[in-house]
Symmetry: C2
Subunit: 346 residues, 2 copies
Amino acid sequence: MASETTRVVVLGTGQMGSGVMRMVLAKRDLELVGAFGRRADRAGLDIADAIGLSSPLGLLLDGDLATLLERTRPHVAVQATCSTLVDAEGEIATCVEHEVPVVSIAEELAWPWAASESWAARMDALAAAHGVGIIGTGVNPGFVLDLLVVALTAVCEDVEAITATRVNDLAPYGPTVVRSQGVGLSPEAFQAGLADGSVVGHIGFPQSIAMLAHALDWPIERVEETREPIISAVERSTPFVTVHPGQVAGCLHTATGYCNGAPVITLRHPQQIHPESEGIATGDSIELAGTPPVRVTTSPEIPGGIATVALAVNVIPRLLTARPGLRTMLDLPPAAALPREGIFRG
Amino acid sequence: MASETTRVVVLGTGQMGSGVMRMVLAKRDLELVGAFGRRADRAGLDIADAIGLSSPLGLLLDGDLATLLERTRPHVAVQATCSTLVDAEGEIATCVEHEVPVVSIAEELAWPWAASESWAARMDALAAAHGVGIIGTGVNPGFVLDLLVVALTAVCEDVEAITATRVNDLAPYGPTVVRSQGVGLSPEAFQAGLADGSVVGHIGFPQSIAMLAHALDWPIERVEETREPIISAVERSTPFVTVHPGQVAGCLHTATGYCNGAPVITLRHPQQIHPESEGIATGDSIELAGTPPVRVTTSPEIPGGIATVALAVNVIPRLLTARPGLRTMLDLPPAAALPREGIFRG
């Protein structure tokens, strides 16, 4: 079917923002009309340089969001600049006040009520007043340990408990990520890092559990999170870190949601470098205890960065026809991979 | 959150209709208010007897659908009486004319345009005129080889081809099902059965491929279906059939969708009794060739009967808030398992 072109601006020129821009450029029905970067010194750079393309695009990176929106009049903005509601709010409000709907990959946007009910109420009202939608998405939180789980429960007459595990490999990541999981620390330094906040584990479990609880109408009374060091028995290394036997290869982060004192949702995310060095394969697994029991696995795991970029772009048409306000992935019909330029046409 | 009770009538008292009724009875926010059976001689039977419950429900099976709808004033009807659009139409039209939305598990309803564009247009107009929705659902077609595949494509920047396989075991099924797959026939009789229509294979591939093609906006130019006998190397038997070595244990049904001469969608559904007797495990698998590649498996397969019942019931709240007209699972936000009576409350 023929579709009108959707004009997209992208906020953020890091790895995620660059990925979103490259994907928008590749899609038949999307047009990249501009990009905003927070670093004022990069304003005026051709977007191609900012995202690592060899030929110039003739589109310049903008350092002022309102000006960009007024000049380009986009149909939608994709935000890839931050992780928290507080950090995301200013840019989202600017877009909404220009009547531009927003897709955000900020982790806390996957289920905004988990971090702040008042933020969610305020932004819902703002978006509704301007007649546009706001949605958060991403692979985790946002898909593997929550939305996909919800979708699978539809085949169950009854679900009694949910266990989902995501095993990934941090070896491709840079120093910021590996540090945040305590890679290369001694067990003692790992515990100190947890205490001082330098070792954080996964960001997103409260969002995933809240989404599951809402979808299933389960009255979760409390959520417990634990972060344990994954002690390596062998030497493992990346360009940024070497882990000796007895040191920490990563962080096993677990979140458990309880109803009536019983653990009914258990989400596990061991993040480490080179899990295969101790015979552990990467992958996602979802187990629903219920009628019928359901067990789904992906092998390897659905990869983090690229899947988050894809979700942010693929959800665009669904957001544009959604009811205005603060939406979640539970409100929208399933997003699907958008057709690329020249799909199956030689 | 507190919800009002949704009043449900069920059409059909076979295995699927009975399952739907038992599930409605178990759900906190659903109330079974009546049931319709096509067999006039069963009218007046307590529904408990019709569906195999030990204590009477005080609800009598109805042989006249219009009377049932007028007396019970349900919020929704679930149809489990038939497989085809033609066979489903009269009952659906009666419900819609009484302003009762309909969930149907008729296989052809999963994507009605595949079997008849004119039926779909007519029923869409009728439903829209009466302000109610009609939707088809089920595990296959309707979920494992289509809706779940679509949902997974959302994590892909690009999808080049889809391969999905569903391996199940027909041993629990009765004589009608095993006959329709050619179980127990000689290879020659299997071919004759294909020719005379007594061996049919799977019902639903045109619906699944059309749903995938629509979701991905892929211009499928033709669909090829093949049905091959699965010749057993060993003896396999059920209470209804014995298969000797060299005879047919089931039917491998494959459907392939082509774009520009290339096979881009391949769906396979080998249905046989006791696949484990030759070392084959049951399960569903979905492979997306693309960026990133995605490989998802279920082990064992999501079971057919119970999952179809569950989907039909779990989609009810989603249908009741959908836009009126003929809808599909692609139009609705993800259905989730509905809470049972007394969930997590002692």
